[in-house]
Symmetry: C2
Subunit: 336 residues, 2 copies
Amino acid sequence: MTGDKPVTLAEVAAQAGVSIATASKALNGRDQVRASTKDRVLQSARELGFTPNALAKGLLSGRSGTVGLVTHDLEGRFSIPILMGVEDAFGAEKTSVFLTDARGDAIRERYQIEALLGRRVDGIIVVGEQTNNRPSISAGIPVPVVYAYAPSDNPADCSVAFDNVGAGRLSVEHLIACGRSRIAIITGDPTYGAAQERAIGAQRALDEAGLKLVGEPTFGTWTESWGRGATRLLMAQHPEVDAILCGSDLIARGVLDALRERGLEVPGDVAVMGHDNWEVLASGARVPLTSVDMNLEQLGRRAATRLAEAIAGNPHAGVDLIEGRVVTRKSTAPLD
Amino acid sequence: MTGDKPVTLAEVAAQAGVSIATASKALNGRDQVRASTKDRVLQSARELGFTPNALAKGLLSGRSGTVGLVTHDLEGRFSIPILMGVEDAFGAEKTSVFLTDARGDAIRERYQIEALLGRRVDGIIVVGEQTNNRPSISAGIPVPVVYAYAPSDNPADCSVAFDNVGAGRLSVEHLIACGRSRIAIITGDPTYGAAQERAIGAQRALDEAGLKLVGEPTFGTWTESWGRGATRLLMAQHPEVDAILCGSDLIARGVLDALRERGLEVPGDVAVMGHDNWEVLASGARVPLTSVDMNLEQLGRRAATRLAEAIAGNPHAGVDLIEGRVVTRKSTAPLD
DNA sequence: GAAACAACCGAAAAGGTTTTCTTAAACTCT
DNA sequence: AGAGTTTAAGAAAACCTTTTCGGTTGTTTC
C-alpha cells in the first residue's frame, strides 16, 4: 500500500467524464452542476478513494487550516489537559494541530515558531509552564498568538489563564460552608505566582467572613514530604486548627499522612483540601480528598476559541480568566 | 503584525535583481550560481524575512515533511513520554508532528487518519492506550504506519512495544540480588496483557533461580486501595513474605501503607518494588520506591526512527521490544 | 422564427516553489 | 580569430486545487 501515489482530482474528473472544474464544484457542493453529474463525480471519488490535497488548497487560499501549539511542559500534568481542550476545539472545525515542545528554552521556542510559520500555520497557541507571566513573542509574528496558562506580559496580547485568586477564595468559602473557622494554609514554592495569588484570594475570603487565618501561610516545595513536615510544625504551634488548605494535592497527601500519624481524624478533627484535582491522587487518598479542579480542558478550549476568533478577524486583547471548581470528597465533609 | 502577507521568493528575487530560479538555487545551496550572486540573494532574503512556503514545497515534492501522531490516551501518563520522544526525534530532522487524540474510539481514529492523509502526511504513528495488541489499520493507507506501545495484531506491520516479560524478569532478578527469596506479586487488572506478561516473566526468573512464588499472583485493579487490601490478605496468609512485586507504583503505594500499618519495616522486613517509575509517586513515597522505568521516551524515539526509515524506503516488519530499567531506591535496599 | 434567457460545463489563471532545459556570456586553446 | 568548452543565469513546466468568466446547449417568449 505504500507505493501508490494519492488520487488527484484530475483522475476523478476523467473517470466521471467531466472537467476538473466541474468535479471540484460537485465535490464542494457548488450549484451550477446537474444533480446527475454531481452523483457521478461523487461516485467516482468514492471508488478511487479520493482525498483532496490540503496542501494545494492551502496554497491557493492562503489559509492552511493548521495551527501551532508550542508547549513548555509536555511532561507536566498541566499542559496535557490544555492540549486536549485545544485539540478538541479545533478538531471539531477541521483544523489540525502541530505540536512542538520547547522545554522552557526561549531559543528552541523561537526556532520552532519559525518552523511553524514556514508551514504557514494560521495561528499559534503558546502554553506556559507556570502561571507566572511570560514574555510576549507576538511582535514580528504575522499570525495571531494566544497565550494559555501563562499569560503574556503585554496586555495587548490575548491570554487565557487560571483564576488563582478566585480559587483561593472558592476554597476558603467551601471550608467555611463546611463549618470550619480556624483555617491554615500549607502551600508550595513562594516563587510561583500561583502559590501567592491563591493565598491572597484565601485571605480576602477570610477577611470578608470576619475570620483570621491561623498563623501565616507556609510556603515550601510542591512535595508530599513538605506537606508532612509543615503539618507537624503547624499542629505543634496551632493545635486549634480545624482545616488545612493545601497548595496542591501532593502536599495534601503529605498533610493527610501526618495528621493520621498524629491520631487526628479527617474530616472529624481537621478538614483538608487540595488543589489540582489530580484524580488518581485525590480519590485514591486514604481519606478521599476535596480539591479544586482548574478546568484546564476548558482553558484549552477557550484558548482555541480565542485563536479561531482572531484568525477570523476578531482579535481579543487581555486576559481571560478561567474559574476553578471545588470537587467535593470526603476530606471536607461538613461537621454533624 | 497580523495583516501582512508572507514574503515570497519572487520578491526576494526582485530585490536581488535575479530570476526566481536563481534565487531558489542560491537559497538551497545549489551550485551553478556565482558566489557574489548567492550572497546578494541571501542578503535580500534576510532583509525581507523570507521563509519558504512549506505548502508549495510539499505540493511539488510530494513530501510534506509532516507526520501524524494518533494517540488514544492523551490524558494518560504513558502516551506523553512517548509523544515527547517522537517530537524530539522528528524535531531534530525538520519534520513537524500533527497531534490528534482519538480517545479510544475507532470511528474517530478512522476520521482523523483520513484528515491526516488529506494533509499528505508522510507517515503515521499510532499510540495505543494499553500494551495489548490492537487491530491493524495499515491496509488501504498509502503511507507507512508505526504502532507504538500497543503493537499491531498484524506481524507484517512495524510495532514498537515495551518488553513486559523482560520487565517481570528484571524485577525478580533485582529482588533476588537484594537477598530476597520469598517473593509475592500484587498486580492490576487481569485483562491487561501487561499484568499477565510481567507475571509470566517474573515466574520464569523465579524458576531459573530455583525459587517458588509465594502464593499466586493476585490480580485486582490499578489502585492504591487494592494494594492495601491485597497486602492485608497476603500477610495474613503468608507472613513469611520478604518481598512484594507490584504491578504499578500506585499499587505499591497502597502496599507500603498497609505494611507500615502492620508494623512491618520496609525494606528491613519486606522489600517493595513498583512499576512505571512515576517519579513524583515513587520518590515521594514514605519509603522511596524502587521501580521499573519503561523508557517510554526511548520507545517514542524508536518509533519515530522506524517511521523515518520506512518513509525513506526501508520499512521494518515485526515488533521492536524496548527494555525497562530498574531504578533503585530505598524500598529494596539489600539486607545487611 | 428569432431573440432573450437559463442551466450547465470547461478553459485558464492563480498560488509559491523546485527542477530541467536552454541560452548567453566568458573563457581556453590552437 | 575562430571553434570548442565551461560557467552563470533565466524561461517554463510541474505539483493540485479553486474560482472566474466565457461558451454551448436547450428552452421559453413575443
